[in-house]
Symmetry: C2
Subunit: 349 residues, 2 copies
DNA sequence: TACAAAAGTGGAACCGGTTCCACTCGGTTA
DNA sequence: TAACCGAGTGGAACCGGTTCCACTTTTGTA
């Protein structure tokens, strides 16, 4: 087991001081005679020298690393987000430390402490909603924070990147209304999250424009974890006045909801028209392929990273920025006009 | 923006030397009087002191970090693997830096250099197959390497964790043979990978046991990236002597293959019986639900991390270890006896 | 030709931990 | 009572970079 060369090894081999080597490594930090620069560079490649990140971090006070804090990578949404973030970060020479919270504020707090130990320059996170003071402390210590997909009401001065939640929910609802649906159910994230509230808002706005009076029983805000989506589907369809259209706007619950629909043998779109917030590749392999709101995950990742890196390099003006990107509406075969039969059936009960 | 307290701040506030604080932090490194220990601990919690990871790394020479090198996190297999690795690592106080290679040896090499800069204690990787000398150099510099899912023939002295590839392929093949299939196609990973070869081996063994002569045209080893699976499906089914059974044993190509089957309107299992190597939750939401070989990803993650951490702590005997875990066979509705019609149709051509 | 400004260089402190070592102080043992 | 041992402590070097500063050598300008 060999030992990796250090900057002093390089200096000695090149017959210069460590200062010169360091200046070759960081060109902005001072002048070096062209001849010596060549000399040093050749010794570096000959020895295979690479500067230790830890040493650089120690003296710089912060690392060229960003933390990515998400619920879990088993969720395709976060997996793809992580994939894009890692990819973009790489092209900027930045590493990504991934932490998962399982939607548990306690684990989230632990993750933030760990990232603080590591002196990360920034954090991209989908916050659980707790730990308000912890996020504040993090920012106070100079860590740049960007929330993605969700925001926290109590932390209004944090950068946020998300899709246009209200607009997306509105478009999905409008689509069903245009097909003739009047009883449209919405399964969405907790009303305590900005995402949940905005999507409910967009849904309500669409109903109001169509002069359909909203039925609170048709709106189900379920937690991001657990089987809340499936349960909501079950209880919605068990109702005597069951909906003819369903929008699953809680990304984490799409799979659970669709699974329940399949298990119950619900015929789509005959019995129920369905729109899901998910661009999982498998949604078009189900039968029928599901009409979906596709979140432009690459854009979310790109903007998040741009914000974090921009702040880290101090090239962004002060003041929190909110970036909302458009989501795509992808019509497939899971929506149709409501069946006469279904309408009369619910009417006769 | 405040400044985080350092060990010297703690020492000063507690009226002791930094040595004492350090010994409180690392109990094995020396004695501390019980009274002073209490004193120091109380100052630590009062100041909210946390040791900087970079400083510790610098003097220790290596970090409490492991690198995870996979193709991409958009692949559910790697996403779940990463999820479990991150989770297990957390419970050991270890952080995970994720790097993706896009199956490109050049990007892989870059990732390894980066991990070296970061002085990671270990690397868990799905190797692309190239960079043999680079992997060697990494190990030579004291980085513990564990390959997961695949091995590299040229690197025989590296720990490997994978499923029982041969056995799994054999079981899938046996299942189709038992149903009466004789023309069974196999889509698998490149024959240059251990995984690909083992699965072909298991498949051939099953055929031989049943005295079915293998047809080389029915075995397609396609790259992990790209649309090789879909193309293979297309060309297999276009053949005058098309198979009645199909095993997709290249995890990365399952989605592409199934997509093509759906696009071509192939009736499953009437026209074709299908078994996939994938435990993607969506495989049971397709119609029909797909019979699958489920890789115990949690086990792969657990064993990989145990190996890496075990080596890092030097509590494992020398010599490479190979761990193969059993995969589950999950029968669903995508397999049936071959249709007479299909048989006669292919016979009449 | 004289002198100021700029380019180039190396020494040394510093970042925040860990660890070796010398030292003091009590209590045992010969 | 002297020699010895171990627990407990603080000083200082060290890990491998970066950066400030003092110093020497060019170069440019009056």
């Amino acid at each position: 087991m060999k030992k990796a060369p250090t900057i002093r090894d390089v200096a000695a081999a090149a017959g210069v001081s460590v200062s010169v080597v360091s200046r070759v490594l960081n060109p902005e930090s001072g002048p070096v005679a062209p001849a010596k620069r060549e000399q040093v560079l050749s010794v570096i490649s000959e020895l295979g020298y690479r500067p230790r990140a830890a040493a650089r971090e120690l003296s710089a006070g912060h690392a060229l690393t960003v933390g990515l804090v998400v619920t879990d990578l088993a969720n395709p949404f976060f997996a793809q987000l992580a994939d894009r973030v890692v990819w973009e970060a790489r092209s900027h020479g930045v590493q990504v430390v991934v932490m998962t919270t399982q939607e548990d504020p306690h684990l989230e707090a632990e993750s933030l402490d760990t990232l603080l130990d590591r002196s990360v320059g920034g954090v991209i996170a989908t916050p659980t909603g707790g730990n308000v003071e912890k996020w504040d402390r993090l920012r106070d210590l100079g860590v740049n924070v960007v929330f993605v997909d969700r925001a926290i009401a109590e932390l209004s001065d944090v950068d946020v990147v998300s899709i246009e939640n209200s607009d997306s929910a509105r478009r999905a609802t409008d689509h069903l209304i245009a097909l003739g649906h009047e009883r449209i159910a919405l399964i969405t994230g907790p009303a305590s999250t900005s995402t949940g509230r905005s999507r409910i808002g967009g849904y309500r706005a669409a109903l109001e424009s169509a002069s359909i009076s909203p039925d609170p029983m048709l709106v189900r805000d379920v937690p991001f974890r657990g089987d809340g989506g499936g349960d909501a589907v079950g209880s919605l369809l068990a109702s005597p006045d069951a909906p003819t259209g369903l929008i699953v706007a809680n990304t984490a619950q799409v799979q659970s909801s669709v699974r329940r629909l399949v298990q119950m043998g619900v015929r789509i779109p005959d019995d129920l028209s369905v729109i899901v917030f998910d661009d999982n590749p498998w949604t078009e392999l189900t039968s029928p392929p599901l009409t979906a709101i596709r979140q432009p995950i690459g854009m979310l990742a790109l903007h998040s990273l741009e914000l974090v890196l921009g702040r880290m390099q101090g090239r962004l003006p002060a003041g929190a920025r909110t970036i909302e990107v458009m989501a795509d509406f992808v019509p497939r075969s899971s929506c149709a006009a409501p069946a006469r039969l279904a309408t009369s059936k619910s009417a006769t009960r």
